[in-house]
């Protein structure tokens, strides 16, 4: 049964491998290209800026960086989309297509049990996804750093780094496999599966991950601008470079955590009143008001050091849901009509 | 294992109204009378017959058992089914056997009080209904 599951997926997997190789090559090429451009921009004399006396030169160098990175958004989209795409394709191939073409009637009247059929199918396809995406994820993670695309902990950096794509693809595969048992047609399963998969990923991205990420609360005395590490990303508002700033605002002096929304509103009102008052209209009135009402600015961020924690937690969420779906699949397959 | 040249090639006539096993038995008897089969000849194995014509192997088994019962063949375990020594006489005898049996029947019916006309009518009726069944 393992052999059959592999043989059925073989031609699709070969096509996927080709895609992975091509995309990987593109990532490598553009990554190196950008790495070179950035290193020139970050070292002397420019140091990531436009110091006087080197304006023309640094503008040219910066333009080179911009030029090298103009395909980044599209490329990142393509790479991330491969995750759910491969998951859907394999999921449809494994379940919906067998049901639609009635080959389940061939498979289930041989000697093995239906559960065995489902297990081999799942294991073979998941192993394939691991084999395809582990190398791609490693290359993409490297690329993110080389191209200075985004801090990896941030929303735009997280999906392209680490093993996010792998978790997503395995989850989508099992999801589409389960959907296929009910929808029983390849075309519809593809459509429904794709929509549901994107919805889930979106939900994880915007609603689950923020809650998973351990945050740090920091108070900012004044706005400061620091040049980031070799990543080229600036810190701001007291938030270190490479971190994911989740929120910022006003808090009472001495508080240890972000204030509630109600408190923020109250403070905001008080500040506005102060600005309108004579004190606020003085020179340096802003700071005076801050001191009068005992307000400080704060920032809530997830530091880069928590990256692997978040990867692990999100991976576990995906793995957990995947196992639940697989379990549901096992219970369903036994009672299914062929 | 039958030789390359089978001793008899069976044919099935689906429209004849005669059951397949009967057809096989009759074809063996005809072959015996015509001399195409002789004592010692081996009949094709059931498997061979099933390759020649589309027929249920059970039917072939039945036909072969009937031939044994009639004394026309002898099975030899492990080797196959062979035409028996006195088979030709048996098959040929059937023609004269039929005449003997008919005479016996007519005598019996006369003994029960049937007239010649009644006997004739009975035979006609019987033949007629068989003709109808055939058509």
């Amino acid at each position: 049964m393992t052999w059959t599951a592999w043989r059925r997926a073989r031609s699709v997997v070969i096509a996927m491998a080709v895609v992975v190789i091509v995309v990987g090559a593109v990532l490598l090429l553009t990554g190196f290209h950008q790495q070179i451009a950035w290193s020139e921009y970050l070292r002397r004399p420019c140091r990531g800026g436009y110091p006087t006396g080197h304006l023309d030169y640094c503008e040219r160098v910066a333009a080179k960086v911009a030029g090298a990175s103009r395909y980044n958004t599209a490329l990142v989209l393509v790479v991330i989309a491969l995750g759910p795409l491969f998951g859907v394709v394999l999921g449809v191939n494994a379940v919906a297509q067998e049901i639609e073409r009635r080959t389940v009637r061939l498979a289930w009247t041989q000697s093995g049990s239906r559960q065995k059929w489902l297990t081999s199918s799942f294991l073979v396809n998941i192993a394939t996804l691991v084999a395809l995406f582990v190398p791609l994820c490693l290359v993409a993670t490297w690329w993110n750093r080389a191209a200075h695309y985004a801090p990896r902990i941030r929303l735009n950096g997280f999906p392209i780094t680490g093993f996010s794509i792998l978790f997503m693809s395995i989850f989508v595969f099992v999801l589409v496999g389960a959907v296929g048992m009910f929808v029983r047609r390849s075309g519809w399963t593809f459509a429904v599966g794709f929509v549901v998969a994107i919805a889930c990923i979106y939900a994880v991205e915007y609603y689950v991950r923020p809650d998973l990420a351990p945050t740090t609360f920091v108070k900012v005395g004044t706005s400061s601008v620091e040049l980031g590490s070799a990543s080229g990303f600036y810190g701001s508002n007291g938030v270190p470079p490479n971190a994911w700033e989740k929120s910022n605002g006003m808090a009472l002096v001495g508080s240890k955590s972000a204030p509630s929304a109600a408190t923020m509103q109250t403070l905001s009102r008080k500040m506005n009143n102060c600005y309108a008052s004579p004190l606020g209209k003085e020179k340096n009135g802003d700071n005076s008001c801050l001191r009068k009402i005992h307000i400080e600015f704060f920032a809530l961020y997830v530091p880069d050091s928590e990256y692997w924690t978040v990867q692990l937690r999100e991976g576990s969420v995906y793995a957990g849901v995947t196992l639940l779906l697989a379990g549901a699949g096992f219970l369903t397959v036994r009672r299914m009509l062929a | 294992m039958a030789s390359n040249d089978p001793t008899i090639r069976f044919r099935l006539d689906p429209g004849s109204g005669v059951s397949p096993y009967r057809q096989l038995v009759d074809q063996v008897r005809e072959a015996l009378v015509a001399g195409r089969l002789r004592p010692g000849d081996q009949l094709p194995a059931v498997r061979e017959v099933v390759t020649q014509i589309t027929i249920n192997p059970n039917t072939v088994h039945r036909a072969y058992r009937e031939l044994e019962y009639l004394g026309l063949t002898i099975p030899q375990r492990g080797l196959g089914t062979f035409i028996a020594a006195g088979a030709v006489d048996e098959a040929g005898d059937d023609q004269s056997n039929a005449a003997k049996r008919l005479r016996l029947l007519i005598d019996q019916m006369r003994a029960q009080g049937a007239s010649d006309e009644e006997i004739r009518a009975l035979v006609s009726n019987r033949l007629e209904s068989e003709i109808d069944a055939d058509s």
């Binding site: 049964m1 052999w3 061939l106 041989q110 049990s113 | 589309t54 027929i55 059970n58 209904s129």
Partner: protein, 305 residues
């Protein structure tokens, strides 16, 4: 004659899809070693019965056992004794024939690759061909070979001869009979055209409108039914011992196909031997399971032999 358990035994088997009963109240006991013709119009329930027997569809009511073992939720060892060929003869279309055989071998504990190669060789089907490039008849042969090579004791074939040209059909039936000759397996094959398979079957099960209307050895069916007709125009009472299956009355003649329970008193009746097709037709027309019982049946899409 049957010391061994029936190869297929169904009691009150029924299957409902939403509100229609595809099969109802099906009770059968098929002895071992038979080649069974499962006959009936489209929609009569033949495929449903076969799929239930193969373990693909659970029944709504009733029970079914194969070789004396409960066959609902069949175990792997039971499944290895049963070969099933679906009406659509599904195969993995991108596979080569050799890969289909490899699939069969890896999915079944007992697999006779020699037999498989022999069959395909005799039919001139190359092991290297892709399934999608084979003709319909060749695909049917490959699918049947997969069933046969696992050397099952029972073969369940759903319309194996359908959509095949006469030559391909003969090849397929002979292939099947060779297997039966070699291994003594039982065969149940469904068909909507009895004449296609009449030459090889010795047991008949007739389904009409989801019910079993006749199930018996063909020889017994032939011996126990007669076509009787009377030249008297009035609605003649049937002779004692004759139970009407299907009657036709016209102004000048009464005729009926009857089941004979006692030797018939022939006075005033012409008695003839009906063919198997005539008997099956009569049962289908009448739709009665046994005399004095059952609903009126209208049959649609019945293809005359």
């Amino acid at each position: 004659m049957t010391e061994s358990p029936a190869v297929l035994e169904a009691v009150g088997l029924g299957r409902r899809y939403r509100r229609t009963w595809a099969l109802s109240d099906c009770t059968l006991s098929i002895p071992q070693g038979r080649v069974v013709a499962l006959v009936g119009p489209n929609g009569a329930g033949k495929s449903t019965l076969l799929r239930i027997a193969a373990g693909l569809t659970p029944p709504t009511t009733g029970s079914l056992s194969l070789f004396g073992t409960n066959a609902l939720n069949p175990t792997p060892s039971l499944k290895s004794r049963v070969g099933f060929l679906d009406q659509e003869r599904p195969l993995y279309s991108s596979f080569r024939v050799s890969e289909i055989l490899h699939f069969g071998q890896s999915s079944n504990p007992s697999w006779n690759m020699t037999v498989a190669h022999e069959h395909l060789d005799r039919l001139n089907i190359s092991l290297r061909s892709r399934v999608s490039k084979l003709s319909g008849g060749q695909q049917a042969q490959v699918a049947l070979t997969v069933c046969l090579a696992k050397e099952p004791e029972l073969l369940l074939l759903d319309e194996p001869a359908a959509a095949l040209d006469p030559v391909a059909r003969e090849d397929l039936l002979r292939l099947l009979m060779r297997q039966v000759a070699d291994s003594g397996s039982s065969v149940v094959l469904s068909t909507h055209s009895l004449s296609d398979v009449a030459a090889i079957c010795d047991y008949v099960v007739v389904l009409a409108r989801s019910r079993v209307v006749l199930a018996d050895d063909i020889e017994f069916v032939l011996e126990s039914h007669r076509l009787i007709s009377s030249l008297r125009g009035d609605a003649a009472v049937l002779p004692d011992g004759a139970i009407s299956v299907d009657e036709r009355n016209s102004a000048r003649q009464t005729s009926a196909l009857v089941r004979v329970e006692l030797p018939l008193n022939e006075a005033g009746w012409k008695i003839e031997q009906p063919t198997l097709e005539e008997i099956v037709m009569a049962y289908l027309r009448a739709g009665i399971a046994s005399p004095f019982e059952g609903d009126e049946v209208r049959f649609e899409n019945w293809e005359r032999p």
